[in-house]
C-alpha cells in the first residue's frame, strides 16, 4: 500500500519541481515572479473588493520592478503556504512572515524588512488581562503555526488552553464570542483588524516579543534571495519604504527603523537544504508519530461519538419522514433538505461562530460533534428511510395481520430487516464521516488532518507527514469496512440460502 501511494504521489508531483540553483535566472526568463501570500493579514496583505492590497503587496511589486519582472500574486491558505513554496508553486512567500530559527532550518529568508512584535488583544475593559504575564489560566486564541502561537507556547501554557485558528480574524472572532479570553498576534495586524472590524476588542500590554519579518524562498533559491536583498536595500535607501510604511501603518516610519533594519541585515539567511520536499524522511516520523496518533485518537473519538448519537437520531428522522402525521414528516423532510443542501463546512461555521450571536456559545469540541451529528443524522435518516421503504409491503401486512401494532411491527419485523439492508450504505457513511471530520479543524480542533498540516508546515518534508496521515486514515477505515463485511456474511441467510432449497415433501 505504502509504496503504491508513494509512487502515485511522486508521479502527481512530478511536473516542474526540478528547481535549479539559478532561480533568479529562471524568474527573469519567465518574466514573472510568483509570490504566495495569505491575504487575511492587514495591513500586510488583505483582499479588498477582489484585489490584494497591503504593505507586502506594494513592497513585493516594487521588488519585482527592481528585478525587472512582473509580479503574480497567489492567495494561499497560511498553513499550506510553505509546503507550496517548497514544492515550487511560488518563487517567494511574502505574508508578514517572522524570521525564526525553526523556520530557518527548512526555509531561506531575506534580510528583515519589517520590525514587528507580538502583543495581546482582549475584550474591551476585560481587566483580567493586562500583560503577557496574565496568559496562564486563560484561553488563548492564535493563528495556527504563526509566531503568535510560538509566543503563547513559550509562555509555558498547556496545549489545550491554546486555540489555533486558520486565520487571525477567526481568532479575534472567538475572543469576541467569549470562546476564548485573549488573542496573541502581531501588533500591526491586531491593531489593523480591530480598527476595521472588532470594536469590542482592544490591544493591550504592548509588544512582549520583538520580531523581524522577512521574505521567504526555497533553500535552493540563494541567488533569488540575494537579488531580493539588493532590491530591498535600494527601496529602503531611496525613501520608497518610508512612504509605504506611512500609507499602510497609518503613522510615519520611526526614525531609527531604517538604521535598525540595516543593522539586522545578517538576521536572514538560513535554509540549509535538507533535500527535496519530496524526499521521504523517516527520521521525522519519530517526533511526528506520537502527535499524529494523538490526532488520530481525536478523529476516532469525534467520529465515534457522532455515529453513536447520529445513528439513532437518523432513525428517528426516518420514522418522522415516514409518519402519516403531516407536520412531523414535513419538518423532517425540511431538516434533511437543509442539511443536504448546504456544505458541512458552513454548518460547522454557523454552529461555532454564528450561534454565539444569539447567545449560544459552544466549546469547539461540542460544536464539532454537534455539527457532525446534525449532518450525519440527515444522511443516515435518508439511508434508513430508503431501507425501510425497500422492505416488501407484505411484511408490514403480515405483521399487522398477526395483531401486532405499528410499533411492534417496526421493532420486530421491519427494522431488523432494514438494519441488515442498510449496513453497506451505513458503512459508507461512517467512512465518509471519519474523513469529513477533518473539516472541524477550522474551529481549532487538532484532529488528524490538522496535526498533519501543522507538522508539514515546518517539517521540510511534507510528503513524509502526508503519507503518514494517509496511512493512519487507512488504518482506521479499512478495519471498519472489513468488520462490516464480516457482519454481512454472518447475516447471509436473509439474502442467500445456505443450502439449496428442497422442493420435496418432508
Amino acid at each position: 500500500m505504502f509504496p503504491v501511494l508513494l509512487a502515485a504521489l511522486l508521479l502527481l508531483a512530478g511536473g516542474g519541481v526540478a528547481r535549479a540553483e539559478n532561480a533568479l535566472e529562471q524568474v527573469r526568463e519567465r518574466g514573472e515572479l510568483v509570490i504566495g501570500t495569505d491575504a487575511t493579514y492587514p495591513p500586510f496583505e488583505s483582499k479588498v473588493g477582489g484585489r490584494l492590497e497591503g504593505f507586502d503587496i506594494d513592497l513585493g511589486n516594487q521588488i519585482g520592478k527592481e528585478l525587472g519582472v512582473k509580479v503574480r500574486w497567489v492567495n494561499s491558505a497560511w498553513d499550506g503556504i510553505f509546503p507550496a513554496l517548497r514544492t515550487g508553486k511560488f518563487d517567494l512567500v511574502m505574508s508578514g512572515v517572522t524570521i525564526t530559527d525553526e523556520r530557518k532550518q527548512n526555509l531561506l529568508f531575506s534580510r528583515p524588512y519589517f520590525l514587528s512584535g507580538q502583543t495581546l488583544a482582549r475584550r474591551r475593559g476585560d481587566r483580567r488581562i493586562g500583560s503577557a504575564d496574565d496568559l496562564p489560566g486563560k484561553i488563548v486564541c492564535v493563528q495556527q503555526e504563526t509566531t503568535g502561537q510560538t509566543a503563547a507556547e513559550k509562555r509555558g501554557l498547556p496545549p489545550e488552553s491554546i486555540r489555533k485558528f486558520e486565520t487571525l480574524p477567526e481568532a479575534l472572532l472567538a475572543v469576541r464570542n467569549r470562546q476564548g479570553d485573549v488573542a496573541v498576534g502581531d501588533l500591526p495586524a491586531l491593531r489593523d483588524l480591530i480598527r476595521k472590524g472588532y470594536p469590542e476588542l482592544e490591544v493591550i500590554g504592548g509588544v512582549f516579543v520583538q520580531e523581524n519579518v522577512g521574505i521567504v524562498a526555497d533553500p535552493r533559491s540563494g541567488d533569488l534571495i540575494r537579488g531580493v536583498d539588493a532590491a530591498l536595500q535600494r527601496i529602503l535607501d531611496d525613501g520608497r519604504y518610508g512612504r509605504m510604511y506611512a500609507l499602510w501603518l497609518g503613522e510615519p516610519l520611526p526614525a531609527a527603523d531604517v538604521a535598525r533594519l540595516n543593522g539586522l541585515a545578517a538576521v536572514g539567511g538560513g535554509g540549509v537544504d535538507s533535500g527535496s520536499a519530496f524526499t521521504i524522511r523517516w527520521d521525522l516520523l519519530q517526533n511526528a508519530l506520537p502527535l499524529l496518533l494523538r490526532g488520530a485518537v481525536t478523529t476516532l473519538y469525534i467520529t465515534g461519538l457522532t455515529l453513536l448519537i447520529g445513528t439513532p437520531l437518523g432513525l428517528l428522522v426516518a420514522l418522522a419522514r415516514l409518519s402519516g402525521f403531516r407536520p412531523l414528516s414535513t419538518a423532517a423532510a425540511f431538516y434533511v433538505e437543509v442539511i443536504r443542501g448546504t456544505p458541512l463546512l458552513l454548518q460547522i461555521f454557523v454552529i461555532y461562530f454564528v450561534l454565539p450571536a444569539v447567545g449560544i456559545s459552544l466549546p469547539a469540541f461540542v460544536a464539532a460533534v454537534l455539527a457532525l451529528t446534525l449532518n450525519a443524522a440527515a444522511y443516515i435518516g435518508e439511508i434508513f428511510r430508503a431501507g425501510i421503504q425497500s422492505i416488501d409491503t407484505g411484511q408490514m401486512e403480515a405483521a399487522r395481520a398477526l395483531g401486532m401494532d405499528y410499533g411492534a411491527a417496526m421493532r420486530w419485523v421491519i427494522l431488523p430487516q432494514t438494519v441488515r439492508r442498510v449496513l453497506p450504505p451505513l458503512t459508507n457513511e461512517a467512512v465518509a464521516l471519519l474523513k469529513d471530520s477533518s473539516l472541524v479543524s477550522v474551529i481549532a480542533l487538532t484532529e488528524l488532518t490538522r496535526v498533519g498540516r501543522e507538522l508539514s508546515t515546518n517539517s521540510g518534508s511534507p510528503i513524509t507527514i502526508y503519507l503518514a496521515v494517509a496511512v493512519l486514515y487507512l488504518a482506521m477505515t479499512l478495519p471498519l469496512t472489513y468488520l462490516v463485511r464480516r457482519l454481512e456474511d454472518r447475516w447471509q441467510p436473509i439474502s442467500r440460502p445456505r443450502a439449496k432449497a428442497v422442493a420435496a415433501k418432508p
Binding site: D392, G394, Q395, E397, A398, A399, R400, A401, L402, G403, M404, D405, A408, R411, W412, V413, P416, Q417, R420, W491, P493, I494, S495, R496, P497, R498, A499, A501, V502, A503, A504, K505, P506
Partner: protein, 257 residues
C-alpha cells in the same frame, strides 16, 4: 391444540355466527371493486370464494381484517363490529394466509411461528416454542424448524405461514389464494394441510382457483363476479347445476371442456 369439532358433520356450519358482512363497498379511486357484499359465516363452516381474477376475492378478504379500509359497510366478528379501535385485538383472532406467504425472512421457521405469541400475547419463550413445534409438526415441517424461509420451497414456506397463522389460536382462518404463487407440484402439500384443518372443524374463509379442492372441503361456495356475490350455495349445487349463466361460463373456463 384445542379444536372445535362440531359433532356429526364437521363442516355443516351450524354453530354460532363468527363473521357477518353487511353491504361492504370498496373503491380504489374511481374504481369500485366491491359493490355491496353481504355474507355470514358460522362456526365450523368452510366458505370458499371463487371467481375470476379481479372479481374482488382478495379485496373482500383484506377488507375483513382491514388491510384495506372498506369504503362503506360493516364487518362484525362474533359480537364486535370491527373498527380502528378494536382492530389490533380482533386481528389476533383472525388468522390470515397470504398468496405470497410473507414469511419474515430474518427469522427461522420456528421463530416465524413464535413471534406473534411472544410479542403480541407475551407468551413465555418456552411455551411459545413448544406450541410452535406442535404446529410445525401439524404442517409436517418439524425437520425445518431451524431453517430460514429462503432455504424452504414455496410449498414449505406456505405451510410455515399456515402454522404462523394458527399460532394465535384464531377463531377464523382466511386464505387468500394460498396456492396461486406455487409451482403446480407444490400445490398438493398445502391443500393437504388445509384439508386437515377443515376436517378438524375449523372455521375457514378461502379464496381459491382450485375447484376440485373447493368442492371437496367447502360447506358453502360463493361465486364473485365484478364485486358482487352473483350466486352462492352448497358446493354440489354450484358445481353441478349453477343457476347463473356467468357461473356456468366461469366454471366451464376453469374446469375445461
Amino acid at each position: 391444540m384445542t379444536t372445535t369439532t362440531i359433532p356429526g358433520s364437521p363442516t355443516n356450519g351450524s354453530g354460532p355466527p363468527v363473521l357477518a358482512i353487511r353491504d361492504l363497498h370498496k373503491s380504489f379511486g374511481k374504481l369500485e371493486v366491491l359493490k355491496g357484499i353481504s355474507l355470514e359465516m358460522r362456526e365450523g363452516q368452510v366458505s370458499v370464494l371463487i371467481g375470476a381474477s379481479g372479481s374482488g376475492k382478495s379485496t373482500l378478504m383484506r377488507c375483513v381484517n382491514r388491510l384495506e379500509t372498506p369504503t362503506q359497510g360493516t364487518v362484525r366478528f362474533r359480537d364486535t363490529e370491527i373498527g380502528p379501535a378494536n382492530l389490533t385485538r380482533v386481528r389476533r383472532e383472525i388468522g390470515f394466509v397470504f398468496q405470497r406467504f410473507n414469511l419474515f425472512p430474518h427469522l427461522t421457521a420456528l421463530e416465524n411461528v413464535t413471534l406473534a405469541p411472544r410479542c403480541v400475547l407475551g407468551a413465555p419463550a418456552e411455551q411459545a416454542e413448544r406450541e410452535a413445534r406442535e404446529l410445525l409438526e401439524q404442517v409436517h415441517l418439524s425437520a425445518k424448524a431451524d431453517n430460514y424461509p429462503a432455504e424452504l420451497s414455496g410449498g414449505q414456506q406456505q405451510r410455515v405461514a399456515i402454522a404462523r397463522a394458527l399460532a394465535l389460536r384464531p377463531a377464523l382462518l382466511m386464505f387468500d389464494e394460498p396456492t396461486s404463487a406455487l409451482d403446480p407440484e407444490l400445490v398438493g402439500e398445502v391443500l393437504e394441510v388445509m384439508r386437515d384443518l377443515a376436517a378438524e372443524g375449523r372455521t375457514m374463509l378461502i379464496a381459491t382457483h382450485e375447484m376440485g379442492f373447493a368442492r371437496e372441503v367447502a360447506s358453502h361456495v360463493m361465486f364473485l363476479h365484478l364485486g358482487q356475490i352473483l350466486e352462492e350455495g352448497p358446493p354440489d349445487q354450484i358445481f353441478e347445476s349453477p343457476r347463473e349463466a356467468r357461473t356456468r361460463e366461469f366454471l366451464a373456463r376453469v374446469l375445461g371442456p
